[in-house]
């Protein structure tokens, strides 16, 4: 199949500039409403449950899931679907365990919750290490993906692409804060869901609107094996470990957790996860259709010819079904997807740097509102520049593993401390700090020793640690560390402090 992918396309450019124009317009509007730290970090708590549901979905559905999973399904069939389901199952956990208490206990970051009844300094430093590690690895994966994707789709150079992403993302966050970021997420979520839905309907129209006929066509063409588990899951422990990272990592992602502070109360936080789970699940169901649609209509060989990883399956499918204009639209949607995710990540990283480290640790909470806002903005620009710089320095590297690494750190460093601080009255400062540092450190160490780095990247014969994702080991280790250290350091005053935490965790604070 001849494709226009890789050539500068007028339609793609037009959609792309339209998106930039609309989102900068939103930023200009939001900038006038962003004067205080509460507005900058939490959109003044003015976001409705439905809006936050879309924004959560927008924050979560990255280009990696849209392009990557569709690509994986189109080239491997059923094996790709394992990812479609895995990326959703963390959301019910977010709803049941963290959304409401988090909203009631914190102000801007998840460290607010962990540090609520513990010593501010050490807890916030450890939490910031976990947050920034998660954010940096997630950002590298997104930036390198963005550079490659935009190069492939618009024909721009890798560096130019990253500069554009960096500049737009800094503009959203710097001027519009959380309000602009939220609306960028909402616009992106609507575009992505509409684009994927339209594409899926066009595929199904060719198969009598019956997904089973599409799957049957795939089996006719490429063998019944595409409908059954293949070699991707030849090692069950690898699948379980990745599953644990996805399931518990979602509830530890700083940019997701931060979104719960944008709604007025715990009830809205709860409802927003309900909407988000519905939207994200619907989206992953669509990836079934898109993946098999691309397999049958475009063909795995044609997809791999454009990009070895299969990432161009959805755009190629769009081109096949709707020609260059639809390709342009889908390309612009993929671009918008990346922009929105990096904006959310940058804002949560900036909050960790300014709210947790500068204001709470360096200034011991004694900083004027104007100073807090200034530091948050400096942190935003600094992180934006770091993201572009990292994206350029990792050019051409295989960074796909970094997303699952980010989930593993979130699951091992942030999630255990968050859960223990909310549910266990004997949890101590030393326990929290030890849990977060050991969770983060062990994840980084085991990733370094894993086949992902040792075999795939360094080309060694074997790796010391057998699992590709360490979450199976590091989540229990982080929980155990937190519990054991707390038991050795617990005293009566720690347990008494829990009574106030408990009350606020359920009732929230009046007038907040």
């Amino acid at each position: 199949m001849k494709t226009a992918i890789g050539q500068p396309s007028g339609v793609a450019m037009a959609f792309f500039f339209l998106f930039i124009a609309i989102t900068l317009g939103i930023t200009w509007w939001a900038a006038r409403k962003t004067r205080t730290t509460e507005q900058f970090y939490a959109a003044g708590r003015s976001v409705s449950a439905a809006q936050n549901g879309f924004a959560l979905a927008g924050d979560y559905m990255s280009a990696a899931s849209f392009l990557g999973i569709a690509g994986l399904v189109s080239t491997t069939g059923f094996d790709g679907l394992i990812y479609s389901t895995g990326w959703l199952v963390g959301w019910p956990v977010v709803l049941f365990l963290v959304a409401e208490p988090l909203r009631n206990l914190g102000r801007y970051t998840f460290a607010d919750v962990v540090a609520f009844r513990l010593q501010q300094g050490p807890v916030r430093i450890a939490a910031a290490i976990g947050t920034l590690s998660t954010v940096i690895f997630y950002l590298i994966a997104q930036m390198v993906g963005a550079g490659g994707l935009i190069k492939l789709m618009f024909g721009l150079s890798y560096e130019t692409a990253l500069m554009i992403v960096g500049a737009a993302m800094i503009a959203y966050v710097l001027f519009g804060g959380m309000l602009a970021t939220t609306w960028v997420q909402i616009v992106k979520a609507v575009l992505l869901l509409a684009g994927a839905f339209l594409l899926a309907m066009m595929v199904l129209a060719k198969f009598g609107m019956n997904p089973a006929r599409l799957f049957a066509a795939a089996a006719d063409k490429y063998g019944a094996g595409v409908l059954a588990p293949g070699k991707l899951v030849s090692k069950p422990l690898d699948a379980i470990s990745l599953g644990m990272a996805l399931m518990f990592g979602t509830a530890g992602l700083p940019h997701i957790l931060m979104r719960f502070y944008t709604v007025p109360d715990a009830r809205a936080a709860r409802t927003s996860v309900f909407y988000a789970t519905g939207l994200i699940g619907f989206f992953y169901l669509l990836t079934f259709i898109l993946g098999f649609g691309a397999m049958v209509l475009v063909g795995p060989d044609a997809i791999k010819a454009v990009d070895k990883g299969g990432n161009m399956a959805a755009p190629l499918l769009a081109e096949y079904l709707g020609g260059t204009p639809f390709l342009g639209f889908i390309a612009a949607v993929a671009f918008a997807t990346i922009l929105a995710v990096v904006a959310g990540l940058t804002l949560s990283g900036a909050a960790a740097l300014s709210h947790d480290l500068w204001v709470s640790v360096v200034k011991k909470g004694e900083a004027s509102a104007a100073e807090q806002l200034k530091v948050a903005r400096i942190a935003t620009v600094a992180l934006g520049i770091v993201a572009v710089f990292l994206g350029i320095s990792f050019k051409g590297q295989n960074v796909a593993f970094m997303v699952s690494l980010a989930f593993a750190i979130a699951a091992s460093s942030n999630f255990p401390a968050l859960v223990l601080s909310m549910f266990w009255r004997r949890f101590t400062t030393a326990g929290a700090v030890a849990s977060m540092l050991v969770g983060c450190g062990s994840t980084l160490l085991l990733i370094w020793l894993s086949p992902t780095i040792q075999v795939d990247i360094l080309k060694h014969e074997s790796a010391w640690f057998p699992l590709k994702n360490p979450a199976l080991i590091t989540i229990p280790v982080a929980f155990a560390t937190g519990i054991v250290v707390s038991l050795f350091t617990s005293n009566a005053s720690v347990r008494e402090g829990y009574a106030a935490t408990e009350r606020q965790m359920h009732l929230g604070t009046a007038g907040d």
Binding site: L95, A228, P229, F274, L285, E502, H506, L507
Partner: protein, 93 residues
């Protein structure tokens, strides 16, 4: 345990405990569903390859069902909170 002087903590604690029971139960169901699916993929390949109808393998149906289960569990939780939890919580403010 000291009880805060102004408020009686017991009713709140009982309500919180009932919420945790539901939250933990639903979390365990979600974990069992997903890792059960993974375990079937790993060890019962033959079962998942079986076709229910032309084009519909057991694996694809179960994969879609995992997503449906996630929806159902969040719906059950939100419904319970909206009907019971919020009203009782409101009464304690």
């Amino acid at each position: 345990m000291t009880i805060p002087p102004v408020h009686n903590a017991e009713p709140l604690r009982a309500l919180a405990a009932s919420r945790w029971r539901i939250a933990i139960t639903l979390t365990v169901v979600m974990i069992a569903t997903y890792f059960g699916f993974i375990a079937l993929i790993a060890w019962r390949r033959d079962l998942l390859s079986r076709l229910i109808a032309p084009g519909l393998s057991v694996g694809i149906v179960l994969g879609a069902l995992v997503i449906v289960v996630a929806w159902l569990l969040t719906w059950i939780y939100v419904r319970w909170c909206n009907r019971h939890y919020d009203a009782q919580l409101e009464a304690m403010r």
